[in-house]
Subunit: 216 residues, 2 copies
DNA sequence: AGCGCCCAAAAAGTATACTAAAATCTGATC
DNA sequence: GATCAGATTTTAGTATACTTTTTGGGCGCT
C-alpha cells in the first residue's frame, strides 16, 4: 500500500531534520529506537540511516549515527570547494532564474533584514536557506547543484554557529542584498564576483570565530 | 571472525570491478545471485550494492543494479565540473607530490607512450588510471579529491570509449607528458593551465565521437 | 583508592522468511 | 495476427531472529 517505501520516507524525513538543524550534535540515532517509535522493523530505518551516512549527512559510529564531526581542516577544505564552484553556479543560475524564484528571494532578503533589528536568529537562518535554495534550484547543471548540496548539508552546524555572530549577520544580509540586485539585473558577472567575495567573507568570519579550535 | 564485514568486502570487490571496467553495460547485478555465489545471505550484498548506488557507481532499477546510463547532457555537466575543479586540484598536487608518485607517473607515461605503437588499449587504460591516481592522491584537500573521484567513477565508460579513438589516444599521451614535465619542475601554474587544456581537449574528443547520440 | 578483568548490555551485522510489486509469459479473444 | 487479461516468475522491500562486536560497568584484587 505504500506508494513510497518506508526507507524512502524515513530517509526524506531525517534528511529534512538534518538540513533544518533539528538534530543535536550529541544526539545518537539508533535504528532500533527509531523503528520502535515508527512501528516498523529495523531494516528500512537502518537502510535510510546508512544512505544518509553514505551521502555525508551522518557519520556511522559503533554506537549509533551522529552528525559528522568536522575538523577545522575539513571546514577549510569545504571553503575551497565553495570558492571553486559557487561563483560559477550563481553565474549560470542568474540566467535561468524565473520570476517566482526572484520573488521568493526578495521575500527572504526582507525577512533577513528584519532580523537585524529583531535578533530572531532562527528566522534569519530559515530565510537564508530559502534564499540559497532559490538560486541553487536554478542552476542548470544538475551535477554541480548536487555537489554543492552535498557539502552544504555537512557544514550546516558551522553556518548555524557563525550566523549568531552580529558582524557576520550584517555581512550575510548585505551579501544577499547585492546578490539579489545582480540577479534582478541579470548580471551574471556581478553575481559571480559577489558570490566569490561572499564566500571569502564567510571564511574570514569562520576563522575569526573558531581560531584553531575544533570546528563543530 | 571476519575483521571486515561481508558488506565492506563485497563493496570493495565490486567497486574495484566497476573501476577496472570489468562490469558490462548490460550486466545486471542481483543481490540473490551474488549472495548465492558467495555463500552469504542477501543482506550484506544488497547493502553493498545500495551503497555503490548511493555513491553514483551503480543505478538501481526494478530489475537489478546496472551501470549508470549517462545522458549526453550529464556527460557535458561532468565536463563543467572537471573544468572547475581539476586545474586547481593539479596545482595543489604539484606542490605535494613525492618522489614515489613522480616515479609512478613516469612509468605510467612510458607505458602509455608504448601503446601508441602497440595499440594495447587495455594497457593504455590502466596506465592512465595509474597516472591519474598518482596525482589525485597528492591533492591535499580531501573533500576536493573525493568529489573528483566520485564523478570520475561515473564517466568511466565514456573515457573507455574515447580512448579507443586514435587521435584522442595521441592527445592524452601528449597531455600526460606535459603534465609530468610541469610536475617535475614543480610548476603549479603550468600544471593547472595544462590540465584545463587537457579537459577541454577531452570534451572536444567526446563531442566529436558522440555527436548528439545518447552516451550509452 | 587504583587497577585490571570479566561480564552484561547495546548496537551493528547477518541470516532467513515472508510480502509486495513489477516484468514476463501465456493463452484466449477479437 | 494483434492485443489484452491474468498467471507466473523475478526481484525489491520488510519483518524477525540470531550472532558478533563493542562498550561500559561492576567486582575483586593489590
Amino acid at each position: 500500500m505504500p506508494r513510497k517505501s518506508h526507507r524512502r520516507r524515513i530517509y526524506e524525513d531525517y534528511l529534512g531534520r538534518i538540513q533544518r538543524g533539528e538534530i543535536g550534535r550529541q544526539e545518537r540515532l539508533v535504528d532500533t529506537a527509531i523503528a520502535a517509535e515508527l512501528g516498523v522493523s529495523r531494516m528500512p530505518v537502518r537502510e535510510a540511516l546508512m544512505q544518509l551516512a553514505h551521502e555525508g549527512y551522518l557519520e556511522g559510529t559503533t554506537r549509533g549515527f551522529t552528525l559528522p564531526s568536522l575538523t577545522h581542516e575539513q571546514v577549510l577544505e569545504f571553503f575551497e570547494l565553495r570558492r571553486l564552484l559557487e561563483p560559477r553556479a550563481v553565474a549560470t543560475a542568474t540566467q535561468a532564474l524565473d520570476a517566482g524564484s526572484l520573488a521568493a528571494m526578495r521575500d527572504a532578503v526582507r525577512d533577513a533584514e528584519s532580523t537585524l533589528s529583531s535578533g530572531d536568529i532562527m528566522l534569519f537562518f530559515r530565510a537564508s536557506e530559502v534564499f540559497r535554495n532559490a538560486w541553487l534550484a536554478a542552476v542548470p547543471n544538475r551535477e554541480l547543484r548536487q555537489t554543492i548540496q552535498r557539502y552544504l548539508g555537512q557544514v550546516q552546524s558551522v553556518r548555524m554557529a557563525t550566523m549568531r555572530d552580529r558582524p557576520t549577520h550584517e555581512i550575510i544580509v548585505e551579501g544577499q542584498r547585492q546578490l539579489l540586485d545582480a540577479f534582478h539585473r541579470r548580471d551574471a558577472v556581478a553575481a559571480a564576483d559577489r558570490m566569490l567575495r561572499f564566500v571569502l567573507q564567510a571564511e574570514e568570519s569562520y576563522l575569526r570565530l573558531a581560531p584553531e579550535s575544533a570546528a563543530r
